[in-house]
Symmetry: C2
Subunit: 385 residues, 2 copies
C-alpha cells in the first residue's frame, strides 16, 4: 500500500508538477519557496563578495544536499556542519570544503571522523578546543596516515565550546602547529549568543568588541610567526557587522537561506525590512472546527520547534489569527473576534519559529513555485549525529 | 565509508552484545532499559486485568513495532496511533486493532486511509468529529467497497478535537449508525488536559466528573437503542482513576512504557513512588570542559523535547548536577560548587523531559540490559504523518 516512491519522497511525491498542488499537500508538510531561497542565497553571496569575505554557510540549518549545492554554485567555498553525521552526508554527496563546527571527542566519533577524512578528497576540517582532544585527533591521523585539518575553537564569550581565553587558545594553536598528525588551518570564533540581540546597535557593539579581541590574538600569533589562514565565524544576525572587523576570512551564516520568526524579529530592527525573505513555511490543515473562537490544525510540536517564539500564520486564515501549540500533533488557530472560520480541511501556512530545529522534525522539503509543488528534496542529514 | 548496517541501524550497530557497550555508544543516543520497559508493560497489563478494562496502548509515545508487539503479547487488544502514518507502519508490521485517535480530514489523508483500510485485515478504526468528515469517510468507504470503522470523538473538556457537547455527539453517532459506508464502533473521549494535573485528588475529581458525564451519554444512547461497543480513553496520568467510572471499555495509555520527567512529577503525587519505572534515557557525552562551573555535552534541543520541563541528569555526573539547554546541539551540565568535573568524553545519561516528542527526534532505540547494548530497534514511525 505504500509505493516505493512514497517511501522515498513521502506521500506528496505524486503531486510534483501539478498546478495548485501547494494547497493539496498531505500535511503537515515543510514548504520551501524556491525563488525566495535562491534570492536569499544570491543576496548573501553578493554581500560577501562586496565585503571581501568568503562564505562557508552552515548546513546545520538546512541539512540538505540540494541547498548546499546551490550555495556552492553561488560561490561559497564550502559548507559548515554542526555534527559529524551531517558532514558524512555532505562529503558523500560531493560537497567541497566541509568544516565541522563542534568538537568531536569520544573514541566512537574520532573513529568515524578518521574514516570520513580518509574518504574525503574535497576538503574536511574539524574544530578542537582542548589539548586532550588535539592529542586524540593527532594520534588518529597518524594511525590513518592521513592528516586531519583542524581549526582551533575560541569561545567568543558564549562559553559553549572553545578555548576560554587567549592564553589557552594560543597554547592550543602552538600545539596544533607542532603536531605531526593534524594540520593547523586556523581559528573558529562563533558568537551564537549575540545573533538574536534585538537591538542592532547593541548587537553591533558586542560583536565588534569580540572580533577586535580576536583580531588582537590573530595579530599576536602572526608576530610570533604563526600564520592563521582561516578565521571562521559570524551568523545571520551579524552577517553585515562581522566583515567590518576585517578579521574573519569567512562567514558561517546559516539561517539566511530560510529566515524564521526569531531572525525576523532580530533583523527587522533598525531597517525598513530584513534583507532576506521568508522562504520556509509549514503547511498545516484544519482538522477540527467544533470550538468557538478557534479551529484545530494538524501542526503541533512534532512539526514546529518549541524552543523559540511561536509559529506565525502566513496564509489561509483571517488576518489577526494567531497560532498556539495544542499538543504533540495539533495546533490551535485562534481567530479574531467575528472572523469567518476556515473550513474543515483548509490549508494554513505558518512561518517557522526557529528554522534549524523545525527542519530537523521533517523528512522532506516540499519545494514550491507559486501554487505548484515543483520538487521534493529529502532532508538527508536530519537527525544525523 | 558508511556500511549498510550502519545505514540501517546507525553508528552503534557494531556494539550490540559487547559488555560495557552502554558507556561506549556514539552519542547522543536514545537508551531504553529493556527490563524496566517489560516491567512497566506487565504492571499496566496486570492493572487493566484487575480493573476489568481492556488496553489499547498509544503508539504515539514509542512509534515502535517492537514495543507494540510486546504490548500485544502482554494482552493488549490493539494499538492507538495519533497519525495515519503511524498507523501505516503498525498495519504493515502486522499489529492488530489499530485505532487512529485524530480525525483524518483532507482528501489526501482520506485517500491514504481508504488504501490502508483495504490492506488491513486485523482491525483498523479512526475517529470522526464532524458530519462533513463523516460524509467524506462514508463516501470513500462506499467507493472502496470496504467499510471504515469509526469511533465518534468527544471533546472531553479539552476542546482539541471531538464533538463539543452531547447534542452534537449524539447527532454524529446517529449519522454514523445510519451511514452505509462507515461502521459505528463506539466513542473516544480522551482528557489530555487532565493527565498532568499535579494534585492527584484534583486530577481524580476532574477525570471522574468528565467520565460521569460520558457515562450518562452512553446510557442515554443505549436507552435509544444504540449500542456503544467501544468507549476508549484515559492516559498514564489517570490510568488508575478512569476504570473507577466503569464506562471506558479500554485504556489508551501511552507514556507508562517509558515514564519521563513530566509524568514523574504528576504520578509521584500522593504515592511513595510512581508505579512505573524510568525506562528511557538519552546518553550524551561531555565534549567541552573549558568553562568554570559547568561542562558542555553533545545533547541539545535536537535530542530532547523542549516543550516540557528540563531533562534530568540520571548518571555520569556528580549528584546535584543539573542540565540546561545550550543550543541545538549542546547541553550545559551545571555542576554543584566544588564538584569534580566529569572528564572529556564521559557519558552522561539524562531522563527525557517529555517522552513522546523526545522519541520523535531519534531514529533508534539503543536497548540496554545493565551495561550492555543488547539490541537496536528502529523508531519506525518517527516523523510519519
Amino acid at each position: 500500500m505504500i509505493s516505493a516512491m512514497a517511501a522515498t519522497l513521502g506521500p506528496n511525491a505524486g503531486l510534483v508538477g501539478k498546478p495548485g498542488s501547494r494547497f493539496a499537500l498531505d500535511t503537515p508538510a515543510l514548504l520551501l519557496e524556491r525563488d525566495a531561497l535562491d534570492r536569499n542565497i544570491a543576496v548573501m553571496a553578493a554581500h560577501a563578495l562586496a565585503a571581501g569575505v568568503a562564505l562557508r554557510p552552515h548546513a546545520k540549518t538546512h541539512k540538505s544536499l540540494r541547498i548546499a549545492e546551490r550555495q556552492i554554485a553561488a560561490g561559497a567555498l564550502g559548507i559548515c556542519c554542526a555534527t559529524l553525521g551531517e558532514a558524512e552526508v555532505m562529503v558523500a554527496g560531493g560537497v567541497p570544503g566541509v568544516h565541522i563546527t563542534s568538537p568531536q571527542v569520544t573514541p566512537a566519533k574520532i573513529a568515524r571522523l578518521a574514516a570520513l577524512n580518509a574518504a574525503s578528497h574535497r576538503g574536511l576540517s574539524v574544530v578542537v578546543d582542548h589539548p586532550a582532544n588535539l592529542a586524540a585527533l593527532d594520534l588518529a591521523a597518524q594511525q590513518a596516515e592521513r592528516p586531519i585539518d583542524v581549526l582551533v575553537d575560541f569561545s567568543a564569550g558564549q562559553g559553549r565550546t572553545g578555548c576560554a581565553d587567549e592564553a589557552d587558545l594560543t597554547a592550543l594553536v602552538r600545539a596544533a602547529v607542532a603536531a605531526s598528525g593534524v594540520a593547523f588551518r586556523g581559528i573558529q570564533s562563533y558568537s551564537g549568543n549575540l545573533q538574536h540581540i534585538p537591538d542592532r546597535a547593541e548587537r553591533r557593539a558586542k560583536a565588534l568588541a569580540q572580533l577586535e579581541r580576536l583580531r588582537g590574538i590573530v595579530r599576536r600569533l602572526g608576530e610570533a610567526g604563526i600564520k592563521v589562514p582561516i578565521v571562521s565565524g559570524a551568523g545571520t544576525g551579524t552577517f553585515d557587522i562581522d566583515p567590518e572587523s576585517r578579521v574573519l576570512t569567512e562567514l558561517q551564516v546559516g539561517s539566511y537561506v530560510f529566515m524564521d520568526v526569531q531572525y525576523h524579529q532580530a533583523l527587522a530592527d533598525g531597517r525598513n525590512a530584513p534583507p532576506f525573505e521568508t522562504a520556509l513555511f509549514v503547511a498545516t490543515s484544519v482538522v477540527s472546527i467544533n470550538a468557538t473562537g478557534y479551529v484545530t490544525t494538524d501542526g503541533g510540536l512534532k512539526c514546529f520547534a518549541t524552543d523559540g517564539p511561536l509559529p506565525e500564520v502566513a496564509s489561509g486564515a483571517p488576518p489577526g489569527s494567531r497560532y498556539e501549540f495544542f499538543g504533540d500533533e495539533h495546533g490551535k488557530l485562534v481567530l479574531p473576534t467575528g472572523a469567518l472560520r476556515p473550513a474543515l480541511g483548509a490549508t494554513i501556512e505558518c512561518v517557522t519559529p526557529h528554522c534549524d530545529p523545525t527542519v530537523n522534525l521533517h523528512d522532506f522539503y516540499h519545494v514550491v513555485r507559486g501554487d505548484t509543488l515543483v520538487d521534493i528534496w529529502p532532508v538527508e542529514a536530519r537527525g544525523k549525529r
